[in-house]
Symmetry: C2
DNA sequence: CCCATAGTTTGCGATAGCGCAAAACGGGCC
DNA sequence: GGCCCGTTTTGCGCTATCGCAAACTATGGG
């Protein structure tokens, strides 16, 4: 059980207001682990034996239907928790988590949660805040899927990814982990073909520059406009 | 400030494990109010000055886009909380709540929440459970919108409503509050026209019986089959 | 009892986006 | 340096579903 440096996590909202010694007590229950690119962290349906905090890398959470279709629930960025199934009353993971890049995580055994919450009640409140904001995002996504067309949804998805995990370049923003057309399709409820067509279109207008699992927003502002444009307002 | 009878709420999961006197202490901070059918309880964007527990009736939570389109986030059944924006870190309500039937609610001022949580930490944990299960439902909804066609989504929506608020009849299940084609469209990401066509079709097959803001599932089992059927499996 | 209103049904194009298929491409591995 | 595999691109027909328009019908109020 490796010692974890508190300085790595002290600034996270999850631990806001914790004293150094409390933090240490919490971290003592965790171990850290490294997951190489494309390795599975846990599988949908498996017993939720642990919950996680991402330190480095990027993790994709995806949900699969009985018939094998997938959607991407979200991408986890460093500093975020994931796999907190048990905190919300689930005995099994509702989704599959995969490292999309070499990643480092902290792992707490599920059994530690009730103990920690009892000792540090504010953990429950902060977790409530994070879960609440994920609920918000889900509602936004439902709203978009109900009212917008595919191009706008893709625009929104890319902007969110850029905000969450964008690397600022001299001219533009690059999404900082490998992501395929298929992934974007699964985030926006469409097919990889349609995503490919949309990106090709944008590329020819100089809005983006993209290739194999790689996307750079060259003109974020114009993409914002695209994302917000009312379908039947301006001409093509 | 009317006295509220603890027996009305003691059995709710939210208050599981509370002693009678604790419960009384909590209820002392609440007042109750009655909202007539079709009246607004709070508006999207308004300051979240209170949170609510529905005692009788039914409440619709809906979200509106800047361009005026709406989706139904959920229907609230008796015993459920709603308007808990501030518990998840929001200063304004993210949706509009409307009583779809004459309704009675308990109302706590937002200011009471931090105090209550400090005094009764398990409130945060139970709220975490409810918010978590709503997150689950949202993900399910996103999955359905991404992978299923409209008819299946409508089937699922009606089955969920029937389970949550269905009144068992001699032969079938009636959804126990007024709900229009438009409402169902806004729950499933389609138009009232398409919903109407689908219900007409089902009606002629004897699966449902419906009219003005009224739906009875006459053959729930066949609807389950419809909901689960793989789009390109059986013949029409 | 009749009218006004909100909800529902239905017809008829129009079309965004899917689904299939095939080709081009790019990277990494041996 | 060449090959293999996963990813991306693109063409083309198809259809589920939308959007508009118009007729129809309960329901509650006066």
């Amino acid at each position: 059980m490796a010692k974890v440096d508190t300085s790595l996590v002290a600034h996270l909202p999850l631990f806001a207001g914790f004293k150094a010694e409390d933090l240490e007590e919490i971290l003592r229950e965790a171990r850290s682990a490294r997951y190489p690119k494309n390795s599975a962290i846990f599988e949908q349906g498996a017993d939720a034996h642990a919950f996680f905090l991402l330190l480095h890398g990027h993790v994709r959470a995806a949900k699969t239907t009985p018939t094998g279709e997938q959607i991407v629930v979200r991408y986890v960025a460093p500093g975020e928790t994931f796999g907190i199934a048990m905190a919300i009353g689930l005995a099994q993971y509702p989704a599959t988590a995969t490292a999309v890049d070499d990643s480092v995580v902290l792992i707490w055994p599920t059994a530690a949660w009730p103990r920690l919450v009892e000792r540090f009640p504010s953990l429950a409140s902060s977790t409530l805040l994070t879960v609440g904001s994920r609920l918000q995002e889900s509602h936004t996504r439902i709203l978009e899927m109900s009212t917008q067309q595919v191009e706008q949804r893709v625009a929104h998805a890319l902007l969110r990814l850029a905000k969450q995990s964008g690397k600022k370049l001299d001219h533009g923003i690059e999404i900082d982990f490998p992501i395929s057309r298929q992934d974007i399709a699964q985030m926006t409820g469409t097919t990889l073909h349609t995503v490919s067509r949309i990106l090709s279109g944008w590329e020819s207008q100089g809005l983006v520059e993209s290739g194999r699992q790689r996307i750079i927003l060259r003109d974020p502002h114009k993409i914002v406009i695209l994302a917000e444009r009312n379908p039947d307002s301006g001409p093509a």
